[in-house]
Symmetry: C2
Subunit: 331 residues, 2 copies
């Protein structure tokens, strides 16, 4: 029975080593969904340099501000921005109360599922759809509408709730940065009140660390004396492109030292991050994985990555190749 | 020698008791500048109820949002809003480059120290003065201008830097709330970029927890390729009156459970705080101490406390009588 015992012992020891190695890895690797390579190293090197006391690049914790785009950076944005999917669902829900929409563009295009007419309506049409579907109620009622939708709506390709189509590597990155004393902010072209109801639950980012586009709200005292804020059908601020540094300055009042985006709408946020002295991290997610997610860049209608790509290459920013750098996409 | 010894012992023991009592007091009293009474008790009772686990009024730490007005609530606002003193000093500094101002109201009134003409110029004139003195430079240059002014300017009556004319009882209250897991925010009609350069140092409130009025900023890429934000002479948002709930909703995205103001400009913030279910604290500072600070309310041009007073009395909000409730005003 000695050989058997020996085998058993060998097995025991190897298992011990395996378990030890795996525990070791999970302790030493806060980013297990990122493949080893230059991209991953650029992140961990940066964090190590700004958090090492005595390092020439050390940054005090209160100045460790990290800003992330949302659509296409923290969650999927194809085949349409998820907020637009919400707006279209909502428009259809509201349509019975608005018979005129059947004959009126851009609403008609949504009701008839006519992508061409919708594309023809352009940015102006999109804003009209956002305005009518994101107003006429209190902020609390709107929050409820968003939560109801995220609980029930499903992505057409992945058949999952939209809030599950978040990127696992980015979740790890957010956690890793916070563990290193960073404050993580969303700076998105998406609606601030569309994101806030769920960002804390899915990203660990509380409402006050969400910067986004917004509509006008109006304070009212109701006949019973109670106070409410009504959402008015008027866009107030678009937190996209050059609006992103404006939003960062207005909402945060500090400079990001770490910023991540994925499209030309993030270019100015990345430039603004790069503009201030000291070690800075500028990152771009390049969608290269049509099999596990989507592949798009310069010619995409959604999430176009053209000028920001050129600038990123020229300046040596970190560019994530989704297919190469991420061993897992969704949680 | 026995009597002497006995006296000595008695003294020793009493001193011991005194020292013990005083240590006890400083441990148990986080608000030493607040006199005992109903007002102080209303604060400590509230904090105790919302922070006691198992209490029906318990509030999770992430929902412990406290909002404070600044002018007249955290620092003095007489004889003019300090930001307006800054704007007038700045206008005089800029005047040599703008010879037309000598003949043009409301600028002429400032340059000639003519309070009547200035009052006649009204709110519109005030905004014009703010616009020309708070623009035409980058956000960094503006920050420097504010810091230079706070370092050198002196209050006409107290002959101290304006940033020293903050209320010691309110500093203790901010610290006490934070020690109890609250996040403290400023929600002020004052300019967001005028306050942010010094709020962290003097109140412990970081820039991202300052909500205020703002001007338009414009993103620009300079010829050398670097990015900047330029302050444009245009008011974008006035965080006063009904603007305060709008600002709270936009910047914080959560409901305050504790709010403090001192004038009608804070009424809607207090109503908005009161509007949501659960235990809420609404406080008003009533300036009643002409000797140590100022006494003013219903008929004051600055910091008028009229409708908010009536509402506060009717609803049973906490009203601080500065003379009665504060044993110390400034640090």
């Amino acid at each position: 029975m000695l050989p058997t015992r020996r085998i058993f012992l060998v097995l025991l020891v190897s298992c011990g080593i395996c378990a030890g190695a795996s525990a070791q890895q999970s302790i030493s690797d806060p980013l297990p969904s990122w493949n080893d390579g230059q991209v991953k190293r650029s992140i961990t090197d940066f964090v190590s340099r700004v958090t090492t006391q005595g390092s020439p690049d050390f940054v005090a914790p209160e100045l460790r501000i990290a800003t992330f785009d949302n659509d296409g950076t923290l969650w999927c944005e194809q085949p349409v921005y998820f907020q637009f999917a919400f707006a279209m669902d909502r428009l259809k829900e509201l349509a019975p109360k608005h018979p005129a929409w059947k004959k009126q563009q851009p609403f008609k295009a949504v009701l008839e599922n006519d992508p061409k007419a919708l594309a023809d309506a352009g940015k102006k049409g999109l804003l009209q759809i956002i305005e009518v579907t994101h107003s006429g109620m209190t902020v609390e009622e709107f929050t409820k509408t968003v939560l109801d939708w995220t609980a029930t709506a499903r992505h057409p390709r992945f058949k999952r709730p939209y809030t599950q189509l978040i990127y696992q590597p980015m979740l790890e990155l957010l956690t890793y940065l916070r563990a290193n004393g960073f404050q993580t902010f969303i700076v998105s072209g998406g609606g601030i009140e569309f994101m806030r109801p769920w960002t804390e639950k899915i990203y660990g980012i509380p409402p006050q660390q969400v910067v986004g586009s917004s509509g006008v709200t109006k304070f009212e005292i109701k006949p019973d004396g109670s106070a409410s804020l009504i959402k008015v059908p008027k866009i107030e601020f678009i937190d996209d492109g050059p609006g992103k540094p404006v939003g960062i300055n207005r909402f945060i009042g500090r400079y990001p030292i770490f910023a991540f985006g994925n499209s030309d709408g993030d270019l100015q946020m990345l430039q603004w991050t790069a503009a201030h002295p000291g070690l800075r991290f500028m990152g771009i997610v390049h969608h290269t994985d049509a099999e596990r997610e989507y592949a798009y860049d310069r010619n995409s209608h959604i999430g176009k990555l053209d000028k920001a790509w050129d600038e990123g290459v020229k300046r040596g920013w970190t560019i994530v190749d989704m297919k190469r750098d991420w061993n897992r996409i969704f949680p």
